[in-house]
Symmetry: C2
C-alpha cells in the first residue's frame, strides 16, 4: 500500500490507508487512546482501542517515527474531519528519549534561546516550520516574477579578495595562506553580470561581521538580489521591486496557504500585507518635512531616517495610502554606498531608495553609477583603493548601461510578515555574536 499524506485523508474516507510520520502526541483515556501523527503536511488522529497497542504506544517517547495502517473514517470532531480506526503499527525508529520541548502544544512554551538551542527539534513544531514554508514560497515567487521578466539567475562567489562595501564588518578567512573575506553582498558581481545578461538575480548567503546584539541583526542572512540594466532611473528599479513583491505574496497564497492558516489567529489565517500596484513613494527631504510638520519637531537636514521617523512614515503610508509599504528615495549621497548614483538635479541627494515595510526598512536599492570615470572619482573621493576593485572596474571600463537593483533580506521579510519581534525566529539556524551552533 502506498503511503498517503495526512492532508490527503479526506479523499480516502472508507478506505484502508497507510500514513507515516512522527508520534506527535498520545492521549490516553480510560477506554481509548488518541494518537496524533504528524507528517510534513499536517496531523492525523488515530483512534486506538486495542489495549495492547495502546500500551506499545505508551512506551514510545514522542517523536518516534511510525507507520500506521488503518481505516479512514469521517469524524467531524477530528482534525481535518477524518480519523483512523483499527490501526496497525510499525515503528520505523523509536525516539531515544522525550523531546526537550512539547511540540504538541499550540505554540512552543519556551524562551527563544532554548528554542534556538534545540532547533533540530523545535523546527518540527507546526507553527515553527510554517515560517519556513513562507520563506520557501517567497523565494519561489521572487524567482518566478523575475524569470518572467527575462532576468537570469546567477551564483557568485562568497569567498572574495576584497571587502565589497568597504573594509569594516567583514569576516576574514585564511585562504591557502592569503587573506580573503566572506562576501557582504553580491553587489559587485551582480553589477558585472549586468554587462553579460542585463538582468540578473541571485538568492544566496551574505555575511556581515557586525558586532551588534539586537533583535534585528544576524551575521549570516539570505539575500534576494536583483540588478537590472538599461533603466531610465531608480523608478524603473522600484517598479521591478513592486512586481517582485507581488510575485512573492502571490506565491505565498498559492503555495503556503496552510502555513498562513497555522500562523493566523483561531479562525482567520494570517493576513498578508496591503501592497498597492504602485507603492507610494516619497523623497527623503519631503519625508523629513512631513515628519517635522506633523510632529512639531524640526528634523529637516538630518542625514538619515531614525527608527522613529520610519515608524511614523509607515503609519502615515498606512493611513493615507492604505499601504503597508512605502518607498523613500533621495537619501543623502554621502550616506549611501560608493556605487550609488547621485540625483543629477541635486547631487547631494541620491537615486538610492529604501522600502519601508510597516515602518521598518526591508529593502535597500537604487540606481548605480555606470561610467568608469565616475567610479574612479568616487573611489578617490572616499579614499578607497581602486586596485582592490580591479575586476569590477574592468566591467565599467568596457561599457556598462545605466542600471540599478536592490536586495531583500529573506529572514527580515518573513519576520515582518508574521510580526516576529526577533529575526532569529525566522532564521533556520541563526548565526550571531554568541551563536554558532546548531
Amino acid at each position: 500500500m502506498e503511503r498517503i499524506w495526512t492532508a490527503e485523508l479526506g479523499q480516502h474516507v472508507g478506505e484502508r490507508v497507510r500514513l507515516a510520520g512522527w508520534l506527535h502526541r498520545l492521549r490516553q483515556l480510560k477506554d481509548v487512546s488518541f494518537l496524533v501523527l504528524r507528517d510534513a503536511k499536517g496531523l492525523a488522529q488515530i483512534v486506538v482501542e486495542d489495549p495492547a497497542l495502546a500500551e506499545r504506544l505508551a512506551q514510545l517517547p514522542n517523536e518516534s517515527v511510525l507507520e500506521i495502517e488503518g481505516l479512514a473514517v469521517a469524524e467531524p470532531q477530528a482534525p481535518g474531519g477524518v480519523e483512523i480506526h483499527q490501526p496497525t503499527l510499525n515503528v520505523l525508529a523509536a525516539a531515544a528519549e522525550a523531546p526537550p520541548l512539547d511540540l504538541y502544544r499550540p505554540t512552543l512554551k519556551a524562551q527563544l534561546p532554548t528554542i534556538l538551542d534545540h532547533a533540530s527539534v523545535a523546527l518540527r513544531h507546526p507553527r515553527q516550520r510554517a515560517l519556513f514554508r513562507l520563506a520557501a514560497a517567497s523565494m519561489a515567487g521572487f524567482r518566478s516574477a523575475l524569470a518572467a521578466r527575462d532576468f537570469v539567475e546567477i551564483q557568485t562567489p562568497k569567498i572574495v579578495g576584497a571587502a565589497t562595501e568597504g573594509g569594516a564588518n567583514v569576516f576574514a578567512i585564511d585562504y591557502f595562506g592569503r587573506p580573503a573575506y566572506l562576501s557582504q553582498s553580491p553587489q559587485l558581481y551582480k553589477q558585472i553580470m549586468v554587462g553579460v545578461f542585463e538582468r540578473v538575480f541571485e538568492v544566496g548567503p551574505a555575511f556581515r561581521a557586525e558586532p551588534h546584539d539586537t533583535p534585528r541583526h544576524i551575521n549570516e542572512f539570505v539575500s534576494l538580489d536583483v540588478e537590472q540594466g538599461f533603466i531610465r532611473d531608480h523608478f524603473d528599479v522600484m517598479e521591478t521591486l513592486n512586481r517582485v513583491l507581488e510575485g512573492m505574496l502571490a506565491a505565498i497564497q498559492e503555495q503556503a496557504a496552510d502555513a498562513l492558516t497555522l500562523l493566523g489567529k483561531r479562525d482567520a489565517p494570517l493576513q498578508l500585507p496591503r501592497l498597492p500596484h504602485a507603492i507610494p513613494s516619497i523623497h527623503f527631504n519631503a519625508a523629513l518635512d512631513l515628519f517635522s510638520k506633523a510632529n512639531g519637531e524640526d528634523v529637516r537636514g538630518e542625514p538619515d531616517l531614525a527608527p522613529v521617523h520610519e515608524r511614523w512614515l509607515g503609519e502615515w503610508a498606512s493611513r493615507e495610502h492604505q499601504s503597508d509599504f512605502l518607498f523613500v528615495w533621495g537619501y543623502p549621497t554621502a550616506k549611501r554606498a560608493f556605487y550609488t548614483h547621485p540625483d543629477p538635479e541635486r547631487p547631494a541627494s541620491s537615486r538610492g531608495f529604501d522600502l519601508l515595510f510597516r515602518g521598518l526598512e526591508l529593502v535597500s536599492g537604487g540606481q548605480r553609477l555606470h561610467r568608469y570615470q565616475d567610479y574612479l572619482a568616487v573611489l578617490a573621493a572616499r579614499g578607497m583603493n581602486p586596485a582592490s576593485f580591479e575586476g569590477y572596474l574592468e566591467a565599467f571600463k568596457h561599457g556598462m548601461p545605466p542600471h540599478g537593483g536592490f536586495a531583500i533580506g529573506l529572514e527580515r521579510w518573513v519576520a515582518r510578515l508574521v510580526a516576529a519581534p526577533n529575526i532569529r525566529e525566522t532564521t533556520l539556524f541563526p548565526r550571531d555574536l554568541t551563536r554558532l551552533t546548531p
Copy 2:
C-alpha cells in the same frame, strides 16, 4: 518608443524600432558600415550608410553601450533574417578603451587564465554566457522537479561550528574571536530538516579547502542538494535523482534552446545526453568484476573505482544501455562518509551510490543512517567527537525516518554537458589555489 530585444526583430519587420546593447563589432567597407549590436538575447546588424554616423561609430571602442533606432528590414543574409536601416544613434556609455579580448570572434582566442583574469568582459561573449544560461536553466529545472514532488526549499548556514565531513579540507574563519568554518556541504542540516519537512532541497555554495590544482577541482562550488525521508532504501533516492535530471534537461530544452544552438557545431545544436527513464545501475563489486573480465586485469577487491574504471564503465553503459549515465552503488562502507547506511545484507558494502555521467563521477548520494545509536557507534568507531555534532545528533535522538539524498555539483554538471575540459570554464568567477579574483 519602447526598446525591443534583438531576438524580437523578426516580429517588427517594416516598423521603426529601438534597440539597446553593446557595440559588438563595426565593419567598415567602402560605402557602408555594418554595426553589430549585442544585447542580452542576441545580435542585430545595423546598416550605416551615413558617413558622419559611421565616423562617430568608428570613434567608439567596442563594448560601448548604445541605443539605436531604425527601420527593421527583412534581409536573408543578416543574422536572424532582419537588419536595421536608417539608424539614429544615442551613446549611453562610451567604453574607455578597446576590450582585452575580441568578443566578436566565434570563440574567444585566448588561454583560459587570460579569459578568467578578464571574466568581467569575457563572460559577455555569446558562447561564454551561453554556458551560464545552461546553469540557470538547470537550477530552475532542479527546483521545479523537486517542488512538484513536495520537496521544500531550505537555506542553511554556511558558517559552521564544526567541519561537516571531518576536519580536513575546511576553510577556517575568525568568528568574533572564536574558530569557525565554511560549510563543506549542507549535509548535516539537510538531514536535520528531513525531521521537519521530510523532503528538502537547497541550492547554495559549498567550500572545500582541497589544495588540488586540477582541471576538476575548484574550492567553492554550487551544490544542488536533496534529502528525502521515508525511503525504503537508496533506490528510492536514485529514482528521485533520475526524475530530477529529467527535469534539468527539460528545463534546458525549454529555457535555453538558444544557448544549445550557440554551443553546438555549425548547423546542429549541442546534443543533450541520453538519459533513460531508468538509469542503468550496477553494484560496485559487479562493476569491478565486469571490468576485470573485459580487460583481463583483476581489480576485484579494490576499495574504490579509479578514473580508468569509471571511464570504461561509462563506455560500457553507453554501448550496452544507450545511456550516458550509470549508477554504481554498494561502495565499500569504510570509504564513504560516516553517515552512510551499510547494506544490511553485506555491511562491508554501503547503500551509497555515485552517478557516472559519461564516465566521470557527477553525483554522490545514498541512504544515510537514521538511528541515534548507529550514529554514536560510527562516530566512536571513526574516532570522531560526538560533542562536535550535538545539534545534528539531537535530531536522531528524537526520531528520524529512513532517509537519503544526493548532491550535484552545478559547475561540474555544466562542464560535462558541454564537454569542457576544465571546470573553471563553467564557473562564473572560479576560486582555486591561486585564484581569488575577479
